[in-house]
C-alpha cells in the first residue's frame, strides 16, 4: 500500500476561518490526507474518526512531548492511556454525574443563570458572547470544581491561557510565559482552598478528589482541575452561542423547539453542526492501515470530528442546522476512553437549564444581522461575537 496523499495547499489560516468547505472536499476526495501545514494526517470520515478513538492501544493519547505539558506544568489525563488515565478520570467523575446536578446543584445553576440573565439590557444590541455565554459558563464551572472564589474574569483568562499554551506547537516563549503566570495563580488559589474543601466536603470536584478514600496525588488533583478549567469553559460557551445562533437564524425551528420543549435536541444539533472541539490528535503506536493507506508507527493522526459530524454517510444535509433530525449520532463529545467527562453536565446545564430559561425570559429575542456573527477556530470553534436584541 501507499502512504496517504500529501496536501501542501491547505493553510492553518484557512482552517481557522472556515474549515467546512475544505472538510467537505476531503471527505469526497481524500478522507485520509497528510496536511503539511498541520503536520498531521487528517481523518475526515465518521467511520475513521470513531475507529481511531475506540482503539486507544493502536492510537494512543500518551504523547508527553506536546506543548500541553509545559502549558499545564503537568502530564495530564488527556495525554494518558489505560489504568493511569482511568485512575485520574475516576477521581473526578463522581462530581460530574447528572445525579449530582439533579440532587445538589440544579437549583444553584438555575439561580446563577437567572442572575446573569437579569442583568442583560433590553431593547438594545447586546453581545451575548461577552455578557452571557462566557461568564455564565465560567461561573457554573467554578462551582462544579469547588473554586467559586475565582472570578469569572480569572476563570476565563486562565482557561484561554491554558488553551493557547497547549496549542503552542511553534513552541514560542510568550504563550508559555502567559500560561506560567496563570498556573502560579491557580496553584496559589488551590493551595489556599484545599484545607477548606477537605474540612467541609461539598461534592465539588476539588472536594471529591481531596477526600477520596484512595486519593490521587495532589499534583494530579491540580492537573485535573486545570484540565477542567481549560476544557470546561470554551465548550459550553461555544455550544450555547452556537445553539442561540442556530435557533435565532431558523425561527421556524425555534417555534417548534418551544412547542415541543425540544431544548435537548437543539443542544445536540448545535454541537453536531459546529463541534466546540473540532479535532483531536492520536499517536500511532504500530504500523497500520487506514482507509486503504499505510499509516506508519510514530505518525500523528488527527480525528476531525467537526467533519465526521457532517459526514454524508450519516447525515442528510449535514451542512445545515436542523434540530429535528431522525438520528443525531454526532461525535462532538468524542468516543472511547476519553469521551468528554463533562458531557452530562453540559447536556443538563446548557440543554435543560440555560436555553429554555433564556428563550422563556426573552421570547422576542432577535439576531438583527446574522452576517455580523464571526466564526473562528480550527481546534476549538464557535462564534466570537453574538450581537442580539433582547425583548
Amino acid at each position: 500500500m501507499a502512504l496517504a496523499p500529501l496536501d501542501q495547499d491547505i493553510t492553518l489560516d484557512q482552517l481557522t476561518l472556515d474549515p467546512y468547505p475544505i472538510y467537505r472536499r476531503l471527505r469526497a476526495e481524500a478522507p485520509v490526507m497528510r496536511v503539511a501545514s498541520a503536520q498531521r494526517t487528517f481523518l475526515t470520515k465518521a467511520a475513521l474518526t470513531k475507529l481511531v478513538k475506540d482503539d486507544p492501544v493502536l492510537f494512543s493519547s500518551n504523547d508527553p512531548n506536546t506543548p500541553m505539558k509545559p502549558a499545564f506544568r503537568a502530564h495530564t489525563l488527556m495525554r494518558k492511556d489505560g489504568d493511569e488515565h482511568l485512575a485520574e478520570r475516576r477521581a473526578i467523575n463522581p462530581a460530574l454525574t447528572p445525579k449530582r446536578i439533579n440532587s445538589d446543584w440544579g437549583p444553584l445553576y438555575e439561580r446563577l443563570a437567572a442572575q446573569y440573565l437579569d442583568r442583560l439590557p433590553r431593547g438594545e444590541v447586546v453581545d451575548m458572547f461577552d455578557t452571557l455565554c462566557g461568564p455564565l459558563a465560567a461561573r457554573i464551572l467554578a462551582h462544579i470544581l469547588g473554586i467559586p472564589e475565582a472570578s469569572d474574569e480569572e476563570m476565563q483568562r486562565w482557561s484561554q491561557r491554558l488553551i493557547d499554551g497547549a496549542g503552542n506547537f511553534g513552541w514560542r516563549p510568550e504563550p508559555f510565559a502567559a500560561s506560567d503566570e496563570a498556573n502560579d495563580q491557580m496553584d496559589a488559589l488551590f493551595q489556599r482552598l484545599a484545607p477548606l474543601r477537605t474540612a467541609e466536603p461539598d461534592g465539588s470536584a476539588f472536594s471529591v478528589m481531596l477526600t477520596a478514600e484512595y486519593p490521587i496525588p495532589l499534583s494530579q488533583v491540580h492537573a485535573n482541575l486545570k484540565i477542567a478549567i481549560g476544557g470546561g469553559i470554551n465548550e459550553p460557551r461555544d455550544a450555547l452561542a452556537t445553539a442561540i445562533y442556530g435557533l435565532l437564524d431558523n425561527p421556524d425551528q425555534l417555534a417548534e423547539v418551544k412547542a415541543q420543549e425540544a431544548w435537548g435536541k437543539a443542544f445536540e444539533e448545535a454541537i453536531r453542526w459546529v463541534a466546540p472541539i473540532q479535532a483531536s490528535s492520536r499517536l500511532v503506536t504500530a504500523d497500520t492501515e487506514l482507509g486503504g493507506f499505510d499509516i506508519p508507527k510514530g505518525e500523528t493522526v488527527m480525528t476531525i470530528q467537526a467533519s465526521s459530524n457532517r459526514d454524508e454517510d450519516l447525515f442528510e444535509n449535514g451542512e445545515e442546522f436542523f434540530v429535528f433530525r431522525d438520528k443525531n449520532p454526532h461525535q462532538a463529545f468524542g468516543n472511547g476512553p476519553h469521551h468528554c467527562a463533562g458531557a452530562h453536565i453540559a447536556r443538563r446545564t446548557v440543554g435543560k437549564i440555560i436555553l429554555p430559561m433564556l428563550f422563556d425570559r426573552f421570547p422576542n429575542m432577535t439576531l438583527p444581522d446574522p452576517a455580523a456573527v464571526k466564526w473562528r477556530g480550527f481546534g476549538f470553534r464557535g462564534p466570537i461575537n453574538l450581537p442580539v436584541v433582547l425583548n
Binding site: 475506540d54 475516576r90 467523575n93 460530574l96 447528572p98 468516543n335 472511547g336 476512553p337 469521551h339 458531557a343
Partner: protein, 107 residues
Amino acid sequence: MVQLIFVHPDGSQTEVDALEGQSVMKAAVANDVDGIVGECGGAMMCATCHCYIDEAWADRTGPREDGEEDMLEGAASEVTEHSRLSCQIKLTPELDGLVIHLPEEQL
C-alpha cells in the same frame, strides 16, 4: 447467533440476531436499535447504553463489572437493581433469547 429481544418503553419489541462475544451495546448499535446510544464505544465512560435486564435473566447476565456501578450514576433515566451498562454484557450461547428493557432516555 444469539437472539436478543429489546423492549421499548412503549412496550414494542425489536428482535436482533447478535454475534457471540459481542456486547449487548454493540449488537444494539450494529442493528440500529433505538434507545441504545453507546456514545463512548464501550469504554464505560458515558452511560448512554443503560438498560434494564429482565428479571428472569438476571442470574445469567451476572453481577455488574468493576467501575460499572459508578458510571451508572451518570445514566439519564432512573437506575434500578436491574440496571446495567449494556456494553459490559458479553454475549454467550446461554444468553440466547435475552430480554432487555430500554430506558426512557439516554442523554
